[in-house]
Symmetry: C2
Amino acid sequence: MSGQISKRAVVLASGGLDSTVAAAVARQDGYELYLLTIAYGQRHAVEIERAKQVAIALETRQHVVLDIDLRAIGGSALTGDLPVPKDRDVSERDRDIPATYVPGRNLIFLSLAAAYAEVLGASAIYFGANVVDYSGYPDCRPEFIKAVEATLQVGTKAGMTGTRFEIRAPLLRMTKAEIIRLGLGLQVPFHLTHSCYDPAESVACGRCDSCLIRRQGFAEVGVVDPVPYAVS
Amino acid sequence: MSGQISKRAVVLASGGLDSTVAAAVARQDGYELYLLTIAYGQRHAVEIERAKQVAIALETRQHVVLDIDLRAIGGSALTGDLPVPKDRDVSERDRDIPATYVPGRNLIFLSLAAAYAEVLGASAIYFGANVVDYSGYPDCRPEFIKAVEATLQVGTKAGMTGTRFEIRAPLLRMTKAEIIRLGLGLQVPFHLTHSCYDPAESVACGRCDSCLIRRQGFAEVGVVDPVPYAVS
């Protein structure tokens, strides 16, 4: 870690594994961390609590939790409109854009992160997008990220006056096992992170896509996942 | 107006003059109207009430009011952090990006509108952006709108599977007088619209940039503005 920390980065922090590793990478890159958590009426509200604990553990400079009730718009399993798929194998997960896709979510989140960055005078935005395990999400793809950067460049006061916005997705092409290895090296508090799409009383189900991918990742690395699951 | 109305359009409706005329244009273009109003913790909350009245007057199919408290991010006169400028002449208004600029606002709003459109199966999004009277706002410029369209194309399920999103800003290059003339022809309920940045008890101040531009527009058209002002 660099001795002098003065640059600011906004990190989209969901309380999940990937975004927590992304935050640790931003810290490693020498940034002061400004975490932004979007409470969007998701089924797994436990994430918000975990995001707060992660923010403390990572010695974040500021943590903003922004409420926005996307249920008013609807259209996803993550906002309660559709059932969360369970026990799917890799081929099923890869076939379609999953029901857990939230229309416009990452664009909404990155827009909010950019607004926050502009207020802070920050140019770097970190987020934990990944194309390997979530190939079906259109708003995790590199071409999407490039398009958002271009939009920020022309559509913000900071962009018009010389700031070059960078949306950094350091995990974009990593497998879950690689992300976990990276996180282990950065002392990421994995025990605080939450990945399940459908927890019961804060306990991960162990069977949704997100749980399955996480558990397989830890198994590949050969490390025990410190999070408990309802189904072993 | 076309006889058969079946196409759906999302309209970003603030309760202001421009967005109400934009909604009337969408109706004229043959669309069923789905109004989206973002309650973003703005100083002028009276707009939300006016948006609801406008939605009824325009026989909107659905009106979603989405709460998002951008004050958590801060950085604008419209969210209460900076004073609203008063009594500025045109040269002053043109000189800078105004304090009423809300970082990332239109990108946030268009992202939400796109999410709503995707859920509805709509491809057209109307909004009342204008580059003539608001030359200082980076997120009202045509290049910004094009960049957002490109982003939606690559970053949404609908865009990936064939929907061609169109962000329509029919007022983009019109003067306020031209917008008012257009609205008069479309029977826009101007008496319900609200433009003031700094109203006191729902009464427009008459002195902020928005009031000054609106009043001059009505004066040029030679029609009485049906809205009362605190200062004549």
